[in-house]
Symmetry: D2
Subunit: 341 residues, 4 copies
C-alpha cells in the first residue's frame, strides 16, 4: 500500500536521529535554556537575517497558534483570519478556550487579501457601536495555506502594510513553511517573511522533525512574557534540548530547504502526471499538497493501492482528495502511484 | 562537573532511541491512532490490571494536568490540592487559565491526608453560603510528591474513600510514578493506584522517555470527549506514534520499574552517605529526590564540583538543596559525589 | 426633538416604580430568595404553562446570554447561531471570554432555518476529522431577531425538532420577546415557546422594566448549578427582589403583553405611514423595530427633528436607519414623526 | 421580627426613588453615555479631588471585582489578596473564570499589611524558577474588610508604597466604602484613598442605592478599553442612567457620608450595649458590622426575635454571629435589639 495521506506519516530526518543518539547522555538544564537551543536560535536568526529576533521552540502547531494568539491579543480583541484558517476551524476551539474570537473573512483558495482586511477594518472602526464588539487585534495567515496555496511577495507586502496601517501585528503560521519557500513560483524568501511579519514560525513537525515549531518574534517587544505563557499553555518542553537539537540539525547545511525542495519536486511530478492523464485538478497547487477531483470508480481503483486524504464531496457526486508528499517521500512511491493513474 | 540538578537532564533510555531508529520510515496515521499506541495502551491496561481503562498519551506534565483537570471539573468547581502541589504553584496558572480554582490545603511534607479533605468538605457543604463559592470537584495528589515523599497504601485507600464519599474523583499526578512504585518502603502497587484513583498518569519524561505521560482513566466514563479536549489544549501530538513507541518500550520486560529501581538504589546509597558523613537530612525521602541541609562553606565546596537544585533558605542561613538521581544516573557519579562529602 | 433610537430610552412602567416605592423598606434576604421573586417565578411558570420550569432573574441581556451558554455547553462545544445573532457580533466577545465558539450560519433577515441547521450538523458529524473541531452543543435563536423579524410557529417547531434530533438544546433569546409575541401575524404563543425551547428568556429591559431578564429553563435538569454560575458571571443581583418586584408587576393583569401590543400598534401605524409616503422599507418588519431606506436629503431633513438608529450604508449611498417604538412611546410622538415624512 | 442579617435588606434611599420617578420618562441614550452619568462622574471626581479620574458605573460587587481584575492583570499574572478577601472566597470563582489566580496571603482580621506583601514579592522575584509561576500583577484590599475592620491612613500609605515599589497597582474594594470612611477612628479620607490607590470603588448597593458601584481609576491609563471589557463581562447596564441618577443623588449634599454615619452611630450604640451587657466581641469592629460570640442559649433567645448572620462555630461550641446595621436601620430597631440582650 502506498501512503499519501499527509506530510507527517514518518519519523524524522535520519540526521536528527543520529544527533539524538550522539547527545543522548549529555546532561543539560531544561526548558530550552541549553546550548543546543542557543545555537539553534542563532541559526534561525541568521537564516531570517533578523539578528534581534526572539526565538522559542514549541512542540506542535495548535499549541503554538494558541500561545502566540494569547501573546498578541488584548482581552477584547480578536484575530482576523480566513474562514478556512487552521485556527478558525481545526483546533477544537483552542483560540476560544483562551478567551479570544476568530474574526473570519471569506477565503479565496485558503487566502485572504489586503483589500478585504482593509475593508473589514474600515467598516469596523466606522461603526459607531464598535466599542460593543470584538476589535481586531492581529491578522493571521498560513503560508502555505490549508489549500496548498501560497502568497506572493506582493501579496505579503500588501497584507503587512495593511495590518500595520491599523496597528495590527501580522502572524504567519508556517507549519509547512519549508514547502512554501520552495514552492513552484514562490518569490517570498524567509528573509522577506521575517521582514514583513511580526511573528511567524518555521514548522518542523511536517518538515523533517519528529515534532517542533520554531517561533520567531521579529519584533522582540511582542515576546515579552512569552516563556511564562508557554508554561501556562503546557507548551514548554522539559527536555527542551530535543527541540534545539532538531532545529540545529534542520538548519545546518541548508537542510530545511533541501528536504522541502525534494517534496516539491515530487509533488510537481505527480501533478504533471495527473494533468497528463486527464485528471481534473481542484486547485493548481504549487506546494506539496495536491488536490484532485476523482469520480467514484477512479477513487476506488486508486484507493485499492494508495491511501490519500478526503477533502470534500462535490455536488456532482465526485470527490476532492488530497495527495501529500513530504521530505520523506520516496520517488519510487510517486512513480508507482503515477503508474496507477 | 557532576550534575544532580533534576531527573530530566538526559535524553531517553537507549532502547527507545533504537526503536525510533528502527521504525523511522514506517508510515502511520497521526494523533495516537496508530498500532504502536494501540499496543502501548494494551500494555498499560495490563500493567494496571484494569482492562476497561481508557489510555491517552500526552507530551508533558503541565499540559497533562491542565487537560485532566478540565475534563474532571464543572465550571464552578475547583480541585483540592496540597498548597505545594505542582498545579497549585509551578504551572504558571495553567489551571486558572482554564477557568478553575485550586482549593489549597496545607501540606505535610508535600502530602494531604484524608481527614483534612473530609474536614474541608464538611465545612464547605455545611456553610449556608456555599452556593456562592467554588465547590470541590476533584482531589489532586502527586505521588511521589514534590518533596520526594510517597503515600502509603493505607493513606491512598483513605483518600480514595473520602474523595468518593463526597462524589469527587481522585486524580493522582504520577510524573515520577516509577520512583514512587519502587521507593524504599513503598507498599502501593500500580494495580493499587489504578484501583484507588479515577485518573492518574505514568510519567515518562522523568522516567526514561524523551517526553511523554500515559494518562489512565480507570473510570472510562470520565474520559468522554478527552481526545478533543487534548486537541483544544494543544496536547495532541501529530506524530502520536512517538509516544506509543516510547511507552511500548518502557513497559516491555518490566523496564519501567527496573530503571526506576536503579534511581532509587543510587538515591538510597547517597542518602546513607549523607547520614554517615553527618549531614542533616531536610526530609527523610524514600525516593530519587534527596533534600539535605548545607551550611554555606559546604555548599560552596560541593558546588565547585557538583550541581544540585536550590530548595530554600532556612532562618539560620543554611540552605536546603536537592540532589536528584534518575534512570540515567551512573553509579560512578554517585560515588564521586560521595567522595566530596 | 423626537427620539426613536432604541426601545430602552425611558425608565420603567409606572406601576413598577410604584411597587418599588411601596416595598422600599421591606426587609428581605438577598439573591432572589425572597417572596417577591418566588411569586414572580410562579407567575412566569403559569404564563408559560410549564409548572416544572426553573426560573431565574438576571439583570441584562449580554450577561444572560453568556451565563446560559456557559450552562449549556461542554468545553469543546460551540453554539450554532445566525451570523447576525447578538451573541455572534454585539457582545464584545462575552461568549468567547467564557471559552466557547459561536458556530455561525448565514442569516436570512436575522433568522436561521431548520434545514440549514440540519445540513450543517450532518456535514459536521459526517466529517471524519470532526473530533478535531468544535462540536455543536446548542442552537441559539433570537425572537424577534436583531432585524425585527419573527419566527412562525412552524419554523420554531422545525428548529426545535431538528435541534433535538442532534441532541442539542434550543435556546431562544427573548430580549424583545413581548414584541415578538404581539407582532403582526405572530402565531407562536408564550406556551409554544416554552414547549419548543429548552431555555429562553422574557426580556424586561426593553419591555417595561428598569432592567431584568427572566430566564426559563423548561427542562429543569439543564438548570443544575445555574445559581452558582450566575454568581460567577457577576449576574446575581444582591437585592434580587428588585427583579422579583418588576416581573411580578409586568406579569400581573396581562401587562407584559398589553404594553408590548402598544409598541406594535404604533410601529404598524408608522410603517404604514412610511409606505403611504413612498418610502422604501428595508425589511417588512412585523415588530417594534422598523427599518427604512433614506436618501441623504431625507435623512438630514428628518434627522433635524427626530433621532433614530444608523443601520448600514447601501452601495448606492443611501442609508438604512431604524426607528424603534416601545411600551413607552407616546402616540403623539409617532404622529409628529409621521408629519415629518 | 428584627433583621440585622446584612446591609442590603432594604431598597434605596427615598431621594433616589424620587429622582427615578421624576426622570422616568426622560429619553436618554444607553450604556452610561447620558447626562445623569456625566454629572455623577463629575461629582465623583470632585469628591475624590481627582479631576483626571476615569469613572464607570457597574451594577454589583462581584462583576465589578472581576472586570477590574481583568483590566489590571496580564495573562500570567495574579492578584495578591488576603485569604479572606471577597475575590478569594465568595465569588464562585469569578476571578479564575477570567483566567486569573488569586495569590493569597494570610489575613489579620481581614487585613494584609505592607510588610507581608513586600516579603512575598521579594521571595517570589528571588526564586530562580519564578518564570514558571504566576507573577503578582496587582494588590487587592477591601476597606472595610469582610471582618468589618479598616485600614489606617498609615497602613494604606505603606501598602500603596510597597505595591508601587514592585510596579503593582493597588485596587481597593469599596463595596462598603461609606462605612469605612465614617468608621470610628477612621483617619483615611476619600481623597486619601483616591491618592493612594490606582483603582477603587464607591459601593452603592450596600450604602443607599438599589444597586450600583462607582469605579474610579485614579490613573486613567489603567482604564483603557474598560468600557468594552464591561460589555464583555455583562456589566454594562443598558439603561445606564439608572446608575448615574443614583450616584448623583448619593453624592449630592454629602448624602453618602451622612447615611453612612447613621449606620456607624447605630453600630457603635449596639456595640457598647453588647459590651455593657457582658457579651464577648469577636472583633472590636469600628464599622457597621459587629461580630459577637454567643452561647447556644443566648443565640436561641435573641434569635427568636431578631435575625443575624452566622459567621463561624468556635471550638468551644459557641457561635460567632454578625449584626449589620445600614443607612436604612431605624434607631428603634436597635433599641429593641438592645432590650433583648
Amino acid at each position: 500500500m502506498l501512503h499519501f495521506d499527509s506530510d507527517y506519516m514518518e519519523g524524522a530526518h535520519p540526521a536528527i536521529l543520529e544527533r539524538l543518539m550522539e547527545t543522548n547522555f549529555d546532561q543539560t538544564p531544561g526548558y530550552g535554556t541549553d546550548a543546543y537551543c542557543e545555537r539553534a536560535r542563532a541559526l534561525v536568526r541568521k537564516a531570517c537575517d533578523c539578528p534581534e529576533a526572539e526565538v522559542f521552540f514549541l512542540v506542535g502547531g495548535t499549541q503554538t497558534n494558541a500561545t502566540i494568539v494569547d501573546a498578541l491579543l488584548g482581552r477584547t480583541q480578536g484575530i482576523i483570519a480566513a474562514d478556512t484558517g487552521h485556527i478558525a476551524s481545526h483546533e477544537a476551539g483552542a483560540i476560544e478556550a483562551g478567551g479570544h474570537k476568530v474574526l473570519c473573512l471569506p477565503h479565496t483558495l485558503g487566502k485572504i487579501d489586503a483589500a478585504a482586511v482593509r475593508a473589514w477594518c474600515e467598516t469596523f472602526f466606522g461603526d459607531e457601536n464598535h466599542e460593543h464588539m470584538v476589535a481586531p487585534g492581529a491578522v493571521y495567515i498560513s503560508h502555505p495555506t490549508e489549500y496548498g496555496t501560497i502568497y506572493s511577495l506582493a501579496e505579503l507586502e500588501a497584507l503587512s502594510d495593511t495590518a500595520h496601517a491599523f496597528g495590527l501585528p501580522l502572524f504567519l503560521d508556517g507549519a509547512r513553511l519549508g514547502y512554501g519557500l520552495t514552492a513552484e513560483g514562490a518569490d517570498a524568501t524567509l528573509e522577506d517573511i521575517a521582514r514583513l511579519s511580526d511573528v511567524f514560525y518555521l514548522g518542523g513537525t511536517k518538515v523533517g522533525a519528529l515534532f517542533g515549531e520554531a517561533v520567531v518574534f521579529t519584533k522582540p517587544e511582542l515576546a515579552k512574557g512569552f516563556f511564562t505563557l508557554m508554561k501556562q499553555h503546557g507548551a514548554l518542553l522539559a527536555k527542551g534540548r530535543m527541540l534545539g537539537i532538531q532545529f540545529e540539525t534542520l538548519l545546518a547545511e541548508n537542510r530545511y530547504l533541501e528536504i522541502s525542495q525534494h517534496a516539491i519536486d515530487l509533488a510537481m511530478k505527480l501533478k504533471q502526471a495527473f494533468v497528463d492523464a486527464g485528471y481534473e485538478l481542484y486547485i493548481d497547487s504549487p506546494t506539496n499538497q495536491q488536490f484532485v477531483v476523482l469520480d467514484e470508480a477512479t477513487k476506488q481503483r486508486i484507493g485499492a493501492h494508495a491511501s490519500f486524504g478526503f477533502w470534500e464531496t462535490l455536488e456532482d457526486g465526485r470527490t476532492v482528495v488530497r495527495f501529500a508528499t513530504s521530505w520523506a517521500t520516496r520517488e519510487e512511491s510517486v512513480d508507482e502511484l503515477i503508474g496507477l493513474l
